[in-house]
């Protein structure tokens, strides 16, 4: 076990906002060498969780273990420097007055390592990240991608037990983000470094994670492998958060017919097992669209290899995703079939 949280709670108290429960009893285990992603909207507590792991925040209660060693808990609190963790920040947090060499060497200097060894390690990690030509530059002279590489180099140079990444790609443009995502994944695999990565971007989470946890309001809503969560979301929040475009979710009150309960969505009848209102979820890619019928195509977003078709029937609205060319046109009438749908209580 590389990192473990047991019943971790964090409460912030402030004069203006009063008592805010940022984490409500988190239990989490991250295995050795795993790429674990924490996914959630802003305010869900994911950054607080990372700060608690790094030692930048003290948990109000609960225990934190890194490589089997308790780093926070009853009467125990190790400072960030004593935890052998490294962190990559959203805004890179490079020291602007130091050169790239100085930035990467900083954690080693703090360890009191000798200069020769520092230089050797800095060169090694710079070579790994392809930034050896930048060693004498100042952060202000670097592009976003280069800064990101320097930040990663600084994190790796200490050979940490645990690498924490706090939305490290959110300041990069879309193309660079894809490239860096790939590089981070490759690097993590090749080094076998246990990584906890926080993001609000579900695409990032899906593509990077070995396992992921979806957080909301200080609690973990669901945890598992990305495709498991995608296929079997536990509630409407997770269902709506994973997948792009998000799942179509509607609340429906079943109608009774011959002793059986049915709900109707876009003209599709679905049998349910009880009479209370339920949430029906259909992923856009699970909607099959055919010409003819009573559903109106209100808009078509052609994205190249795929198209999003906005559908409306009376009060029911949904988005369907089709791959390949779309020969439908706006205003046309269609009918739909659901390849798969989900029913949720909440």
């Amino acid at each position: 076990m590389s990192a473990e949280l047991k019943g971790v709670k964090k409460v912030f108290s402030s004069i203006l906002r009063g008592r805010v429960e940022a984490l409500r009893g988190i239990d989490l285990k991250v295995e050795e060498g795993e790429f674990f992603v924490i996914l959630g909207p802003s305010g869900s507590g994911k950054s607080t969780l990372l700060n608690i792991l790094a030692g930048l925040e003290k948990p109000t209660s609960g225990e934190v273990y890194i490589k089997g060693r308790m780093v926070a808990g009853e009467g125990v609190f190790l400072n960030p420097g004593e935890r052998r963790v490294a962190m990559v920040f959203q805004n890179y947090a490079l020291y602007p007055h130091m050169t790239v060499r100085g930035n990467i060497a900083f954690p080693l200097r703090m360890e009191g390592m000798n200069k020769k060894e520092i230089e050797r390690r800095v060169r090694e990690v710079a070579l790994l990240l392809g930034i050896e030509h930048l060693l004498n530059s100042k952060p202000a002279e670097l592009s976003g991608g280069e800064k990101q590489r320097v930040a990663i180099a600084r994190a790796l140079v200490r050979e940490p037990d645990l690498l924490l990444m706090d939305e490290p790609l959110s300041n990069l443009d879309a193309r660079l983000r894809i490239k860096m995502k790939e590089e981070i994944r490759k690097l993590q695999r090749s080094l076998g470094l246990t990584t906890i990565y926080v993001t609000h971007d579900q695409t990032e989470a899906m593509t990077l994670a070995d396992r992921l946890a979806v957080m909301r309001e200080g609690s973990i809503e669901q945890m598992g492998e990305p495709m498991d969560i995608y296929r079997n979301p536990g509630n409407t929040f997770v269902a709506g958060f994973i997948g792009n475009p998000p799942m179509n979710i509607v609340k429906k009150k079943p109608a009774i017919e011959e002793g059986k309960y049915f709900i109707d969505f876009l003209g599709v009848r679905i049998e349910v097992d009880r009479g209370e209102a339920v949430y029906l979820g259909v992923r856009p890619e699970d909607i099959e669209v055919k010409r003819g019928g009573s559903i109106e195509v209100t808009m078509i977003e052609r994205l190249g290899g795929e198209a999003l078709i906005h559908l409306r029937k009376e009060n029911d609205k949904a988005i369907a995703k089709i791959y390949g060319d779309c020969d439908l046109s706006e205003g046309e009438r269609v009918e739909v079939m659901f390849k798969k749908y989900y029913l949720f209580d909440s």
Binding site: P80, F89, P96, E111
Partner: protein
Amino acid sequence: MALSERLIKALIMSSGLIFVISFTLIPIVWMVALSLSGNPDLLIKGDFRMTLKNYRDLLTSPELHFTDYIRNSIIVASASASLSLTLCVPLSYYLSRLHRNPTAVLFSVLVLSMLPPISSAIPLYRFFASLGLINTYVPLIITYSVWSIPLGTWLIYSYINSLPRDLDRSALVDGASTIKVLLYIILPLSKPGMLCAFVLMFIFSFNEFLFALLFTIDHGSRTVPVGIALFEGLHGEVPWGYITASSLISVIPILITVVLFQRHIISGLTGGGLKE
């Protein structure tokens, strides 16, 4: 119509500017004229006799003690600004990064700084006198350092506060202690704010009059403002030539400091508001 409107505007603006500039510069021109004149009544009698005697006397004759005053002022101002800075930096860092409610502390510091200096003059005098420190640099340095703390703290606090917190957090994760974060990260990055505070505190100490008058007796520790005020003429007349010349000379150290650190002063004063 439009032209005359513009003309009127320009006229008002220019006359306003001329008034402000004259208001500021005439005393200085007057001082320069007096300091270079052999006769202080040059306006009444109309006989301006150009001479450098006042400057020469001030810088060369030991009985005027002007060079002593300048030396004392520079020592006292540098020492008190340095001491104050040494106290303000950790205080500002603590308030910015570790204190839960820095605003309350900063406002109490500000309120304290609004007390008139005279209110503490007598107790301070008695205190320093009881220690036998009157007419030494020590009471001036201590008093000025303490009086400069509010100004210095406000400036440096706002500068440090504008530095991204993630830099500290990153340094902490990299293994630095709180003190090392201050030494390796915060201090180098707040240099402009610190220099600005240093210069302003230096100017304050250099120009201060009341405490300098109270705590000094003779040229051994007397500073420039008091020295100038206490210049005596030969037969009891006011020696305007010396007074104006010494005032002009005493501006030089401040001018040099300001020119040297001009860039830092501006970025230090605006740092809190403009930094990203």
